[in-house]
């Protein structure tokens, strides 16, 4: 497989009133062509910010301070603004969390869909609209030609998310970043959207990064999972390894807190005690140490590096950032 995306030691911080908020603290990963990566973590763990940093879609207060993002070997972090714009319009598609507010209420669906490709590909608008109609059909919107002429408020939430997906796919991107695309939708629509994306991925052979806080959603969908905590990647492995042999205490905690049918009725759902770290003044040691049941002395003082697990093989081995090998410790939380 060929590599599409390579991220090395990415740091992003926000300027706030009296200093900096360190949202992303050295994220490194790679993505193959056609691969689907799930990024998991709780709110504020830096998962969205790190993925937005890939295409520099950040608010003015945010700043990438270190690291590089290579898309098809091209460095995005140091590219010019116009180059980044054209990369956004041609190679990367974004799907956002809240479809209800992601469409301009003053523009027709069709106009909005084709805005990017008309600008970047310099094709005629009528031609672009024909293509848009084709993509709307592909994402399961009936009567697509008619819909192009409607305004966003005439569509339901699920329909709007389909439109957003069509919008992201229209420029035939090699990478799609989906930032919690199903969070704002109800469960049945959520399942439809997941099925849709799975189908489209096979059809169009693109790489997808799916950001979510719902670990269970990723089962049966993604190839690899990356778990983030406090702006760090704490564990990264293929789907099965994460589910069956998690090695970071945080991943273990996340998996335990998924409700299952086997859970005894009336029993409390396990949760991870404590609160996420303050990114304003990050702890000197492992960010998860204060909440960790496995912690040792070293965890307080040194940040563990993300490194291949001993015994794991392959070109892209299971990686974990923990001083403790949980396999050697039988400690139950």
């Amino acid at each position: 497989m060929t590599k599409l995306l390579e991220v090395n030691n990415l740091h992003t911080r926000f300027k706030v009133r009296n200093g900096y908020l360190h949202a992303v603290n050295g994220v490194s990963f790679s993505l193959d062509k056609g691969e689907m990566l799930g990024v998991v973590g709780e709110s504020g763990c830096g998962k969205s910010v790190s993925m937005m940093s890939l295409i520099r879609l950040l608010p003015p207060a945010a700043q990438i301070t270190e690291g590089e993002v290579l898309l098809d070997g091209e460095d995005i972090t140091h590219a010019s603004v116009s180059r980044v714009n054209s990369i956004r319009g041609s190679k990367v598609g974004m799907i956002f969390q809240d479809p209800m507010t992601s469409l301009n209420p003053f523009m027709k669906i069709g106009d909005q869909l084709v805005e990017g490709i008309v600008y970047h590909r310099k094709i005629a608008k009528a031609e672009a609209l024909k293509q848009a109609a084709r993509y709307l059909k592909m994402v399961g919107i009936s009567n697509a030609e008619h819909r192009l002429n409607e305004y966003p408020h005439q569509l339901s939430g699920g329909m709007r998310q389909r439109v957003m997906i069509a919008m992201a796919l229209l420029n035939e991107p090699s990478l799609v970043i989906a930032d919690e695309p199903t969070t704002a939708l109800d469960v049945t629509i959520q399942a439809q959207i997941v099925e849709l994306v799975k189908g489209l991925r096979e059809k169009l052979n693109m790489s997808i990064i799916w950001i979510t806080h719902d670990l269970s959603l990723l089962a049966g969908m993604v190839d690899r999972i990356m778990v983030m905590y406090g702006g760090y990647v704490v564990e990264e492995a293929v789907l099965d390894d994460i589910y069956k042999a998690p090695l970071h205490p945080y991943t273990i905690g996340l998996l335990k807190s998924i409700p299952s049918l086997k859970t005894e009725a009336g029993s409390r759902l396990p949760s991870i005690p404590g609160a996420p770290p303050n990114l304003f003044s990050p702890p000197t040691g492992c960010p998860f140490a204060p909440r960790c049941a496995y912690k040792i002395g070293r965890c307080q003082d040194e940040v563990p590096m993300l490194a291949a697990v001993s015994g794991a093989g392959g070109e892209r081995p299971h990686r974990v950032a923990c001083w403790v090998d949980v396999r050697e410790r039988g400690v139950e939380q």
Binding site: L57, R88, Q97, N104, E115, K125, A126, H146, H153, M164
Partner: protein, 317 residues
């Protein structure tokens, strides 16, 4: 707009937002009433001197305070002047005052508001500070101060210029009233517009659709033109239509207090203040300008409301 008729779908007509909005506006009866009245006001203001039945200054001391009749539709005032002619001529004053105040304040307000809302940080803090300071100045006091301190030297200067050059332009000091009083009024009225614009831009900038457009690589100028401005327009239109009526009422109160438009140039305001002295005996002297002022104010709000609804697709049924 770049929108053209799409070949995709023949059975349904394709329109741009502007055309769509116009169709909605036409369908709104109150807006049509407002629009007709406003157009009529403009017509009267432009062609006023040619359609008045009498000269607005000509006095007929034999026919003072006449009630409405076929000769004088709105009656005559205490100097025997035809009230209808004066109301018609006064519409010029109203239109000039309304538009000069609103457009000056809007230009300053748009600029300052956009500046603060878009750049944020220290610039925004400065804009907000300026807004707060300006809003704390009582408008009446400022207008009186300007009138008393700046007007006489300016009028003297214009007289001197007229004597020196013989240019008729310098003779008409009525413009000094307009520019000075209502220009300065605009100078202290802009914070309202600036606040609206700033608030709109701040909220729209963080909207997901702006982010989505950025994610498609749409350039900033296009985002501002197609995403930010249309979404910010509603409250600004309401501001314009409300302020037009408001400015005319303000002009009335300034004229009432003796600053602003001076007699014998008629303005609805000074006609109302004249009428107030004798309205128990001759109510028609007050009634005509007051009714016209009320109708025009309402017409502007109908039109503004209609425009706001028509331009906002969410309001459509």
């Amino acid at each position: 707009m770049t929108d053209q008729a799409l070949p995709l779908q023949q059975e349904e007509k394709q329109f741009s937002l502007a055309k769509d909005a116009f169709i909605r506006l036409i369908a709104n009866r109150l807006a049509i009433v407002g629009m007709v009245l406003v157009l009529f006001l403009f017509f009267v203001a432009i062609f006023g001197p040619y359609i008045t039945p009498y000269d607005f200054l000509s006095q007929d001391l034999m026919a003072r305070n006449q009630p409405p009749s076929w000769q004088h539709w709105f009656g005559t005032d205490d100097l025997g002047r035809d009230i209808m002619s004066r109301v018609i001529y006064g519409s010029r004053t109203a239109v000039i005052v309304g538009f000069s105040t609103v457009s000056f304040s809007l230009v300053i307000g748009l600029f300052m508001g956009a500046l603060g809302g878009y750049f944020g940080g220290k610039i925004d803090a400065f804009v907000v500070w300026l807004i707060d300071i300006t809003m704390s100045i009582p408008s009446l006091l400022l207008v009186i101060v300007i009138n008393v301190s700046l007007k006489p030297p300016l009028v003297n200067w214009m007289d001197a210029r007229f004597l020196a050059t013989g240019n008729e332009f310098y003779r008409n000091t009525i413009w000094v009233d307009f520019v000075l009083v209502f220009g300065s009024l605009a100078l202290i009225k802009w914070p309202k517009a600036a606040r609206i614009v700033r608030g709109q831009i701040l909220s729209i900038r963080n909207k997901n659709y702006v982010l989505a457009a950025e994610a498609l690589g749409v350039p900033t100028a296009k985002i501002v033109r197609r995403y930010v401005i249309p979404n910010a327009l509603g409250p600004i239109i309401v501001y314009i239509s409300a302020s037009l009526g408001e400015a005319m009422v303000l002009e009335s109160s300034f004229s009432f207090l003796g600053v602003g438009v001076r007699p014998p140039i008629p303005s609805w305001g000074n006609m109302i203040s004249d009428g107030l002295r004798i309205w128990q005996l001759y109510p028609h002297v007050l009634a005509a300008p007051a009714a016209v002022l009320a109708i025009v104010t309402i017409a502007f709000s109908f039109l503004g409301d209609g425009l706001n609804d028509a331009l906002n697709p969410r309001q459509w049924k």
